[in-house]
Symmetry: none
Subunit: 262 residues, 2 copies
């Protein structure tokens, strides 16, 4: 990133989105903790994992906002923000994904409450694929490139293989495991899978941005805003949908929050 | 905002109001967590959401007070506060509303404990309207204008449409859903609806302030103090009223806190 200046509006937009994300992640975490008793005890583990995900994300957004304010400083005329010389550290996002992406898949499998052997085989496959997906994308992220047929493109392509494998599991094996579930749960499961594709699909688009000549300050701003929206949806929003699935299944199984205190 | 100086009193008044708001929001949050067992388990979700609302608000007030102290510095003579060059960031308020306003509507609908289909259709409508209300107001907030017939006025007008729609739902559909509720609950519901109109009604007044030539430091101070009072009432005060409704309904249904520990 060799951005030397940002307009006041560009700087603030990214800053405000980062701050928004911190608030959303922390609030979601408090919700997952306090609303735990509204789902049957066996589904609470998914809410616990949701709490970890948004907690890890909030931590990284605190770091990212710190790096953002450190990387730019108001010009003496007060009309724009100039690079302070310190690079803006975007690697926090990869560290975050390395931890949170496997967890997001784990909570989805756990909330479905499959047989133990089925769920542990599925978990192993998904977690390994998720780790490869993130780890293979990172080396390319460090390289600038202006073409798909570059070293960056090569790492991106490698990273896509586990991504496609994850989709294959979610739509194939996990999809067929949904047959026996109540109708409302099936609808929620279809929605959460769509949320996952749309939000996760945003990351490779950003990754490919340099191939289409999208560099410079407006591209940096678009990427940061886009990542942030995708993260809030893919973590806090996703967690709320996991909660909705857990709640729906709890109700279908005759669980009532009153009972929990009886 | 092109305020270049504030009197000592103006600066401190805003600072102290912001600090007051942090104290009120955090205290309210602690209350909603600790007093949860005084309402029947099914109403606790509304107190959980109240906790999120005041927590998100406290977070933003910490940021706003930080931006306030960063935007002004004491003159060397110590007689006034001068602009430090760094802009005072008021966008935190919009980010806050984007998260909290839908939540405020959600807790109101949930505490009424309507049928599932009725409450989910009402929630969808209210949440979507609330998001549009905030998102349409923001572009106008960035524009200065001295007339209602300006781009700022146009966005303000657009933002009013979902606001009116929200009022229509609260007074129409939700009002008629109150028929079957106990008398005390109906009174509380009428009061909370009035609180909502009076506090929310303050925001468009502030929005229109520039149309009446209200700019400069005294206007900045009035706006900040007004927003802060409205926020404390609309979030902490509103949450306490939600608690009162939940408590009243719990008592009417024979719930007793003693029992919860029996």
């Amino acid at each position: 990133m060799d951005i030397t200046s940002l307009s006041l509006g560009e700087y603030s937009l990214v800053y405000n989105m980062l701050s928004f994300s911190i608030a959303a992640m922390l609030a979601a975490g408090v919700f997952f903790i306090l609303a735990r008793d509204r789902v049957s005890p066996k589904y609470r583990i998914s809410l616990v994992i949701s709490t970890l995900v948004v907690g890890i994300a909030a931590y990284h957004y605190f770091r990212i906002i710190g790096s953002w304010t450190g990387a730019f400083e108001l010009s003496s005329a007060g009309t724009e923000y100039l690079s302070s010389g310190e690079p803006f550290n975007d690697a926090y996002r990869y560290v975050d994904w390395l931890l949170t992406v496997p967890l997001l898949l784990v909570e989805l499998v756990l909330v479905l409450d499959l047989s133990r052997s089925k769920s542990s085989s599925m978990l192993t496959k998904l977690v390994i694929a998720a780790v490869f997906m993130i780890a293979l994308g990172y080396p390319g992220e460090l390289l600038s490139a202006d073409s798909m047929f570059s070293e960056r493109g090569f790492w991106g392509l490698l990273s896509t293989i586990p991504f496609v494998y994850i989709l294959y599991i979610l739509f194939g094996e996990l999809g067929s495991a949904m047959e026996g579930q109540p109708e409302r749960v099936r609808v929620l499961f279809r929605n959460i899978r769509l949320l996952l594709i749309f939000t996760w699909g945003f990351y490779p688009i950003v990754y490919m941005a340099p191939f289409f000549g999208l560099t410079g300050s407006s591209s940096l701003v678009t990427i940061q805003v886009g990542y942030t929206i995708a993260d809030v949806l893919a973590k806090a929003g996703y967690g709320v949908m996991i909660y909705a699935i857990a709640r729906e299944k709890s109700l279908a199984e005759g669980y009532s929050v009153e009972e929990a205190y009886a």
